[in-house]
């Protein structure tokens, strides 16, 4: 086993071909709400216990359920008001449980990509064929409920295997959100086909911000604005990507929504920002920057 994941090659920030975005935008900003379903009594997985307490963990379960009963609507209103479409990181079983939510997102022309079947079903311990089955289920479920092609992937609860990226490329998935090594899209080394990493950001993720970094709601709003200011400035040199990954059960709480909504308005008031979806960013990158970036990486390697 190698001590390097082998997924990408080193290319430093200052030695890359220039990335451009539509209409001369300096920065592409995408918002990725994780619309998730956590099961009440999920089956055990040998490597990860879904809930901290013995089943049923009604507090943790109901906290997540808040997102689907309440929080998603507040989050969506904040995004509508600022003019953001979402790219939904979707536990695809949610289409069956709460099609009403899917319909509201689809009506707004949001993108849907896969975050596995349930957030309580991990890929740890799966064989490649079992993992193929969840990719096929995702492709089919998203097509059936939304008519969309599956373009992106965020592993369920970020559970990966060493072959996962190869499988995604094999099924024609365009981008993965599981790699956090960059502020620009980057080619991912896969056995066949092509795959890119889409900047998704742990640091901007509300779960990490609120529950790991223990930031207050207002601190989160400030962090979003500063992250944007810096990446926009750097976008003068070469286009950057900023992602705001969300969880409606967290950001959709009444004491958190306003500072978040204000940060979105702040971003949207700039005229050199591209408010995009993950798929749109990936398509633009493949069309204009993928080949030059691969060449530049080869040059560095040589």
């Amino acid at each position: 086993m190698s001590n390097d994941p082998g997924l990408y090659d080193y290319i430093p920030y200052n030695r890359r071909p220039r990335i451009t975005w539509p209409n001369g935008a300096k920065i592409a900003v995408w918002v990725a709400p994780n619309i998730e379903f956590y099961e009440f009594t999920p089956p055990p997985n040998p490597q990860r216990t879904p809930w901290a307490r013995p089943l049923p963990d009604v507090l943790a379960y109901s906290h997540r359920d808040y997102g689907n009963r309440v929080g998603w609507w507040r989050m969506m209103e904040a995004m509508d008001d600022a003019g953001f479409r979402g790219s939904v990181s979707l536990n695809v079983a949610l289409c069956d449980h709460h099609p009403e939510i899917i319909e509201a997102c689809a009506k707004r022309d949001w993108e849907f990509f896969s975050h596995g079947i349930y957030n309580t079903r991990y890929t740890y311990g799966m064989s490649p064929d079992q993992e193929r089955a969840i990719i096929e289920d995702s492709i089919e479920t998203i097509r059936k409920w939304t008519g969309q092609k599956l373009s992106g992937w965020l592993a369920p609860a970020l559970s990966n295997n060493t072959w996962t990226m190869d499988l995604l490329a094999e099924y024609g998935v365009d981008y993965t959100c599981d790699l956090f090594h960059d502020d620009q899209p980057m080619p991912v080394n896969v056995k066949s086909g092509r795959l890119i990493s889409m900047p998704y950001s742990l640091e901007m993720n509300d779960v990490i911000v609120y529950n790991t970094n223990l930031y207050s709601p207002r601190h989160y709003g400030e962090a979003i604005k500063r992250q944007f200011d810096q990446l926009r400035e750097e976008g003068e040199t070469s286009g950057t990507v900023m992602c705001i990954p969300l969880h409606p059960y967290l950001v959709g709480q009444p004491h958190r929504i306003d500072p978040f909504a204000e940060a979105l308005r702040y971003i949207a008031q700039h005229d050199d920002v591209w408010l995009a979806t993950g798929r749109e960013i990936a398509e633009h990158f493949y069309a204009h920057s993928y080949d030059p970036m691969v060449k530049a990486i080869e040059a560095v390697r040589a």
Binding site: P54, P56, S62, Y66, V70, I117, G125, P217
Partner: protein, 307 residues
Amino acid sequence: MPLADDYLKYPARRHGMDHDRYQWSHLFDRKKVVWPNGARIALWVMPALQWFPIDMTGKPFRAPGGLTMPFPDYRHYTNRDYGNRVGIYRILKVLRDRGLPASIAVNGIIAERYPLLLKDLVEAGHEIVGHGLDMEHVHHSGLSDAAEEDLVSRTLALLRDASGQAVTGWLSPGRAQSHATPDILSRNGVTYACDWANDDLPYEMKTSGNPIFAMPHAFETDDRTVMMDFHHSEDSWAQQVKDRFDVLYRETDRYGGRVMSIPLHAWVSGVPYRVGYLREVLDYILGHEGVWTATGADILMAFRAQA
């Protein structure tokens, strides 16, 4: 060896929830709730009185605030018990000065240990809510139904005897339940429980007997969660509670009445340097038109009358 193929089977993948306790519904799509006198917000203050036994095992899991040091953990035992001796009296004064009713969640054993405290709560006119026997006895599915039923009925008997009240509200220690808890609560005359954190309004929960109602009990602006778990300052706690209120208040324009719950712990908010922030938060809220100050039982009665 790969996972069993059952791991890729999803027997509860269907419309609505993956269990039968309640129906899925969307807060912003429901009939508008109207509170008495056209109030926008039901303000519901709920301090908890908790006793953590010195021989606490913390098994199968420790309720938040539970003892963590080697036996005898005097520091945490006494710090928590401070709430029952001193902290609650500070909070009671804040409530009295503002003429505010409250629901007070009380571990059943406190009625036996500190009858004077119960007497004071009742004389002040507050609603007593069952809060389990004590903070060691968490409810979980490793308990037999009979053992859990015993915990619930003992707790309620202690509190009902000491208070002379019906005691129809419930908050489990650590907000933890077994699969059977709602059924057991219903059988024992409980009409509402505050454990589930998935809504901003009451909703009906199915049981083997009469339905009970899940009451919205703010999880993440709870004083202990914000100041002890998140380590935010008391100033930030006050800001977050006010921000929560502002959003709920604003929503009443379009979506009908809301519940603003303020869960407190006597051993957290009753500390001298923190209690001023409780005064600040309450005065801020009470400075608005259309705030109905109520107990959990009042809120449930008004809610059920229009359901």
